[in-house]
Point group: C2
């Protein structure tokens, strides 16, 4: 089962916007609408012409206009309501999409070698805040995993995870060989999740594990996931300094 030929997408330098090759079809319509908004022909809060009218103006089918406007609405540029029509968003929010890969791939994607140290694995009663976050009864037994992820042999990420043991198969996976996250994305369907990013000073323990001075600023990711209404896992990731979560809009 060979891997799919790697998508030949050169990693673009983050600071170089490219000239767009005049689009056609629904993308042309999207571009034209965007242009009119930017040119302040259609002001924020104003209602723009109906799909029908635009279709006639552009000489295309209403479905094509619909495609373009729907895309802009998803991007937060337009607000659409049945009967009320389509308006230019009054308070445009920048809507960015983040790709959150598995840590191993993130490290390998930088051309570094990936390593993994399972520091702790134990079945413990869930601490109150964790149980509350996941919506479980306090002291529900959960699998507690502490893992240090390495990039080129150096500490990259310290992961503290609480995992619902009910989801594991009988011969439980060897989390010293495959990270819990990687095993989960491949084996447990998830429906809803919850992600928060923040910053925190390294605790004495975190500093020791990551090989840093205590108090170093760490980038923190916290995630909870559920499959339907069943809690899957809660995890806290503390990244070594230098980590940047990056996205383009």
């Amino acid at each position: 089962m060979p891997d799919w030929p790697a998508p030949v997408v050169a990693a673009s330098s983050p600071a170089k916007p490219l000239p767009r090759p005049a689009p056609q079809g629904w993308e042309a319509i999207r571009a034209e609408v965007l242009h009119r908004i930017h040119a302040r022909l259609w002001l924020p809060g104003a209602t723009i012409p109906t799909e029908e009218a635009l279709a006639q103006e552009f000489g295309c089918a209403r479905a094509t206009v619909n495609r373009a406007l729907r895309d802009l609405a998803e991007a937060g540029v337009l607000e659409r309501r049945r009967k009320a029509g389509t308006r230019v968003a009054l308070h445009p929010v920048r809507r960015a999409t983040l790709d959150i890969p598995v840590t191993r791939r993130e490290v390998e994607g930088r051309g570094q070698s990936y390593g993994l140290h399972l520091l702790e694995q134990a079945l413990l009663p869930a601490p109150v805040p964790v149980a509350a976050q996941l919506g479980l009864a306090p002291a529900t037994p959960l699998l507690h995993l502490c893992t240090l992820h390495l990039a080129d042999g150096r500490p990259f990420l310290y992961e503290v995870r609480w995992l619902n043991p009910a989801l594991l198969p009988d011969p439980a996976p060897d989390f010293a060989a495959i990270s819990a996250n990687e095993w989960l994305v491949g084996h447990v369907p998830y429906t809803t999740g919850d992600i928060a990013f923040s910053a925190a000073n390294a605790t004495a323990h975190e500093a020791e594990v990551l090989g840093l001075a205590p108090g170093t600023a760490l980038f923190i990711t916290e995630r909870c996931t559920w499959s339907g209404d069943r809690a899957i896992t809660a995890v806290r990731l503390a990244y070594a300094p230098g980590y940047r979560l990056h996205t383009m809009v």
Copy 2:
């Protein structure tokens, strides 16, 4: 719609009302495809049937299947390529969408009062890293703005911005009254942007401005935006402790 939706309600016992009202149309197809992936009927990396085949199976038009599969591809669950077909993503990335509102609305959205202190405004030659980020010649004159944003009168966010003065109208806006970001989203079209999140220890200056102890971990957002190929602005936001960037998937 003949032989398929098999409305779960009709077939199952009346005593089990599903929380989500069984979707219909293209969303039902999306749900069914997701279900098959989660049920490991279609394994990661495997090619799933063609749109045509699925349309026949579900008794709907190909366009409807297309809508569902396209949605799942945008969500990162499927990978689609012409001629090659549609595959279950081998390395599913969690794709989260972030809404990044204007700071004033972010503060007001928490029910706090918003305030703004313009600490510095000067036309200065762009420092090398800033010029490089924006793709400008070194020492291009840029408007340098330092702003402290307040929530309920307490420091919330310290903003350091470099702004292309060519974009400003002749009577330049009063950035002591309206934040540069808020003015920009309303008046300058942007096409591409670039956002990075990280963590950093507060410098002595930042600590003083934000009223914190030096070294406190700060959540940092850095953004660059362009309008076409013209640089608009580069900005660094340092959030006071407690800030969390949050999203649900």
